[in-house]
Every structure is written in structure tokens, then in C-alpha cells.
């Protein structure tokens, strides 16, 4: 409708400036990634030279072979895949269940449960690091991927989001189903879950991303290097490089190759969930 309006010249100038502004912004987003990618595909010594690198210098995959084969990044990578997939599936399911329960009208104690869950959102996990560790130890979870999967298996954020999605499903539908004799489980699985696909997709994306990026729990609960996860491995590769006790020459291309490998899975899922995401977030934001 706006397009059909006759545009004044001020309006046109504004459009130009606006697009330029956005292009500039997009550039500040793209250049860092281009720079990273180009460096990852440069040779060892070339990647250490000062230059504006937006295209590989002395194209080479040395960085990738060093980080993947010799530094064995594939181990933490595979662990990350396991934790992410299992953890995300569990998270999405449990948050949906909680979201469903918390939209029930007239459920006694609902308000209390809701506030309890809200309260958990305000506890920074770093502040209760030691007691959390003790819990994991008492449950015999230390040094296992289960500890990482359990950490954040339900989150207040996920519950609230699913609850908001379910709120947008007409409540009358479930009421009439109930009159027809359907139980909660059936209503949940056959009516709510299919109707909240966008919601499920959104929570899946959120959780997949935060699982993939999970850092502190892995630092805390895992001592066995064969159960190490990606972000911890990346941190010692990129940030505190002094802990990589090493007979390897870790040049910039090796570091950047590590980053590129870590980003790939996220980039893969991004377009798939993108179409649900905007719709999902819009629903989630709408009912707040």
C-alpha cells in the first residue's frame, strides 16, 4: 500500500540513505565472517601476515587438517553433536509439556508453578556453580555427557515461550475435546503439538543454538578429555592458547579453521528454521 503512494523527493532521498545505512550495517556483519573464512583457507605463514584479507592468501587447507586431524577437533565435535541433539529433543519436549500444563484454566497452583519457574530465570548459574557441581557429583553424573544433557534440560524461557504459543491456540477447542472425553495427554499430543509447529521450531532453534554453544557446564563437569566438548576445545584454541601444550604451530589459519568448523552446523540449520522462526517469534512476542 505504501508503494502505491506517490513518493516525494524527500521520501526518495530518505530511501537511498536508508538503504545505504542498511548496506553499511550488513557490511560490518559480513566482513568479519569473510575475513575469518579467508584466513581459514590461507597457508600457515601467510595467515600471520598483516593485510586486509577478504580472499585466501596462498590458498591452502593446512589449517583444517591441522585442527581436525592433528589436534583432533573431531572428538569434541562429535560429543557436541550428541549433547546437542539429545539435549535439544528433551528440552523441546519437556518445555512443551510444561507450557501445556501452564495454560490450563483453573488449575490450582498454576500461579505458584509459574512464579517458581520465573524465579529460576533470575538465578545466574555461575553464582551457584559449586552447589550445582555437588548435585552432579552426588548423582554420579560427573565426567559424563549426561551431565551436559541434563544441564538446562528445562528452562524457564523455553517453558514461557511454549506457553505463549499454546495460548494462541483457541482454548475452546480443547474444552470441546474434553467434553468429548479426551484426556490431557491426547489433547496435548493430537491437538496442541501439531498446532504449535512454529513454536516447536522456534524453541528447537533456540535450544539447538544454546546447546551447541554450551560452555560453562562442560568446563565444570568434564575432566575426561575424551568427553570434551567443542566450545571448551575452541576456547583453548582461540583464547587461551597457552594451554594447548603443543608441539603444533598454531597459526591464525588453524584458529580460524576451528571457528569455521564450529559455525558450520549452525549455518546449516539456520535457513531451515528461519521461516518458522520469524512466525514463531512473532507469535511468542504477540501474546506477551
Amino acid at each position: 500500500m505504501k508503494i502505491l503512494e506517490k513518493k516525494s523527493w524527500q521520501s526518495r532521498i530518505f530511501d537511498c540513505i536508508n538503504v545505504l545505512f542498511l548496506l553499511l550495517l550488513v557490511l560490518t556483519m559480513i566482513i568479519p565472517f569473510l575475513n575469518t573464512l579467508a584466513l581459514a583457507f590461507s597457508s600457515n605463514l601467510a595467515s600471520m601476515q598483516p593485510d586486509i584479507v577478504l580472499w585466501p592468501k596462498e590458498f591452502s587447507t593446512e589449517g583444517f587438517t591441522t585442527v581436525w586431524n592433528r589436534m583432533r577437533l573431531y572428538l569434541p565435535f562429535m560429543n557436541n553433536v550428541i549433547v546437542t541433539v539429545v539435549g535439544t529433543a528433551g528440552h523441546v519436549f519437556l518445555c512443551s509439556v510444561a507450557g501445556y500444563v501452564l495454560i490450563q484454566k483453573g488449575l490450582p497452583g498454576k500461579k505458584w508453578m509459574l512464579s517458581a519457574i520465573l524465579v529460576t530465570m533470575m538465578i545466574p548459574s555461575e553464582a551457584i556453580m559449586i552447589p550445582l557441581y555437588i548435585v552432579n557429583k552426588d548423582l554420579g553424573l560427573l565426567n559424563s555427557l549426561s551431565a551436559l544433557i541434563l544441564s538446562g534440560l528445562v528452562s524457564g524461557f523455553g517453558v514461557l515461550l511454549m506457553r505463549n504459543f499454546f495460548l494462541s491456540v483457541p482454548y475452546e477447542m480443547s474444552e470441546s475435546a474434553r467434553i468429548d472425553g479426551a484426556g490431557d495427554l491426547r489433547i496435548f499430543f493430537t491437538m496442541y503439538m501439531p498446532l504449535a509447529k512454529a513454536g516447536l521450531a522456534t524453541v528447537t532453534l533456540f535450544e539447538f543454538v544454546s546447546r551447541w554453544n554450551q560452555f560453562t557446564p562442560a568446563v565444570l563437569y568434564i575432566n575426561d578429555p575424551s568427553k570434551n566438548t567443542l566450545q571448551v576445545a575452541l576456547k583453548s584454541l582461540i583464547v587461551d592458547t597457552d594451554v594447548t601444550s603443543s608441539n603444533f604451530m598454531i597459526t591464525t589459519n588453524v584458529r580460524m579453521a576451528g571457528i569455521v568448523i564450529a559455525l558450520l552446523p549452525l549455518l546449516f540449520i539456520y535457513p531451515f528454521v528461519q521461516k518458522y522462526f520469524v512466525k514463531g517469534i512473532f507469535l511468542g512476542a504477540n501474546k506477551e
Binding site: M1, M29, L107, A127, L263, A285
Partner: protein, 290 residues
């Protein structure tokens, strides 16, 4: 009792979730609270010492330094993460081309997907005065290279800016979603009244976004005191005194100095402050009415 029986399936469904929170949130919370009142030695007896740990923290000048850093950097991040996405969303909304809009949105959202280890690592490299691309560009235009991450002058701004860079796209999508949802008849009415584009933004779009803005404020306010990963990744000895935040203090007291009592006490001061801030903010912006 009858009520409980009537809803028993629902309670059963909720049970694992409540159990999870009890075990992994509330129990550690209570346990931590107890530790904060103990002289928590690693091995040996752990006598209760009243508020000693809290006093140790409150009397520590370092704590007040990091609190100041937290407030300055936290406020900066809060403001940039509120305004930048809003400008971006409004600006995107004015673009006619759907294709351009979509691609921009997608690209701008990208950094939100990545961990601070990755984003911080990339920016450390890009801001390096030697090989960093930012300084290469500055030199291209004849400037002198700047040690962004080693200088008191820039350190805090770098933290604020990189956070804005990372989170801009995420909040922007929240705003955009709300804009799409604005009733088109409002714009039509404005057009009939002869409103200019700016007037429509000013008097239709922005007021209609107020509840989303409230949500963004609430989300971001909670984050101020929790800031940790970013600082852990991007700090260094040269700027530690300007960028170390309260969470970092807890971490250092606990992990590097093995002082668990004071570290936990500091953690609880943070939790307490978070609660106060969020209640105050809720009241101030009348969040619950929105």
C-alpha cells in the same frame, strides 16, 4: 483434594519439570545460601560465620570497582541493545524490497547464533593492532593503529559495541514481528489524515511497539548483572581493571583464590540485586499492564 484428583494427569505431567527445577535450581540455590554463611574450607569442618563472608565482600575495594564496571558496561550494553535494534527494525520496515529486507534480516541475525568464544575470538583478532582488519582499514585511511583491547580508553566501548553487534539482529526480529502485527487500518487512517512517513513512524509504529519495548527492557535488564562469558573471553591483563564485572569477581574469588565462602556470598549479592532491579523495572515500566 478433589481438585488435585481432577487434575492429576496435569500434575503428573508437570512432575518431572518441577523435579528438575527442584534439583538443579532450588536445591543448589539453598545449598549455596548455606555455603555463603560458612567458612567453607575445601577439606575440614565448615563452621557457620554469620555475615562474615558478606562483610568480606562489601569491604573489598575490588568488589566496588567491579560493581562500577558492571554498571557502566551493563548500562551501555542495555542502551545499545535497546536503541540499535529499534532503529534497524524501523529502517528495515521502510524498505520496499521484500527480498532485501529478508536477506538483511537474516545476515544481521547471524552473530546471535554464535558463542562468545567464537565472536570474542574473532573480534580480538580483528581489533588486533598488528594483523587485525579494523586497524588495517584505519591504516588504509592514513590513521595510526589503535590497541583497542589494551587501552583503558576503548576497552569498555569495545565490550559494549561487540555486544551490540552480536545481539542486534535478535532484538530487531522481535521488533519486526511486532511491526508486522500492527493493525494496517491505523496506517490507513493516518494516510487519510495526510500523515508523512515520519509521522506514521512517530505516531503509529513507535506507540504500537511499546509492549515489545517493555519486553526487551525486561529481557535485557536481567542480563546486566549476569554478563560473564563475553568478559571472560575478551578481557586481558591490560584492561582487567576497566572491564572485570561482578560475575568475574565471583569467578576469580572462587576459582583462582579458592575462597568459596566470599565467592558464593558475592554470587548471592548478585542474585539479590537482580531480583531488586527486575522488580523495580517491572514497577517502573508497568510491565504487567502491557
Amino acid at each position: 483434594m478433589k481438585a488435585i484428583l481432577k487434575y492429576k494427569t496435569l500434575y503428573l505431567m508437570m512432575l518431572p519439570i518441577l523435579a528438575y527445577f527442584a534439583i538443579f535450581s532450588f536445591y543448589p540455590l539453598v545449598r549455596g545460601l548455606i555455603i555463603s554463611f560458612q567458612n567453607y574450607r575445601l577439606i575440614g569442618d565448615r563452621p557457620f560465620v554469620g555475615f562474615d563472608n558478606y562483610m568480606t565482600v562489601l569491604k573489598d575495594p575490588v568488589f566496588w570497582d567491579v560493581l562500577q564496571n558492571t554498571i557502566v558496561i551493563g548500562t551501555g550494553i542495555f542502551v545499545i541493545n535497546f536503541i540499535l535494534p529499534l532503529i534497524l527494525a524501523l529502517s528495515l520496515n521502510e524498505v520496499a524490497s521484500v527480498w532485501f529486507k529478508k536477506v538483511t534480516q537474516m545476515i544481521v541475525y547471524l552473530p546471535h547464533l554464535f558463542s562468545w568464544v567464537v565472536v570474542g575470538g574473532m573480534w580480538i583478532l580483528m581489533l588486533s593492532p598488528d594483523t587485525g582488519i579494523v586497524n588495517q582499514i584505519i591504516q588504509l585511511f592514513g590513521g595510526d593503529p589503535i590497541s583497542f583491547l589494551a587501552s583503558d580508553k576503548y576497552a569498555r566501548s569495545v565490550m559494549i559495541f561487540t555486544s551490540g553487534w552480536k545481539e542486534m539482529g535478535y532484538t530487531c526480529i522481535l521488533y519486526l514481528a511486532a511491526i508486522v502485527n500492527i493493525n494496517p487500518s491505523l496506517y490507513e487512517a493516518a494516510s487519510i489524515d495526510g500523515a508523512s512517513r515520519w509521522h506514521k513512524v512517530r505516531f503509529v509504529t513507535i506507540p504500537q511497539l511499546s509492549s515489545t519495548m517493555k519486553m526487551v527492557v525486561m529481557l535485557n535488564v536481567l542480563g546486566i548483572l549476569r554478563m560473564f562469558d563475553q568478559i571472560l573471553v575478551m578481557r586481558n591483563g591490560a584492561i582487567a581493571d576497566k572491564v572485570d564485572v561482578v560475575m568475574m569477581y565471583t569467578y576469580q574469588k572462587g576459582i583462582l583464590e579458592f575462597n568459596i565462602g566470599p565467592a558464593t556470598a558475592a554470587g548471592f549479592l548478585i542474585i539479590f540485586a537482580t531480583l531488586v532491579i527486575s522488580f523495580v523495572t517491572r514497577a517502573l515500566i508497568r510491565y504487567d499492564e502491557g
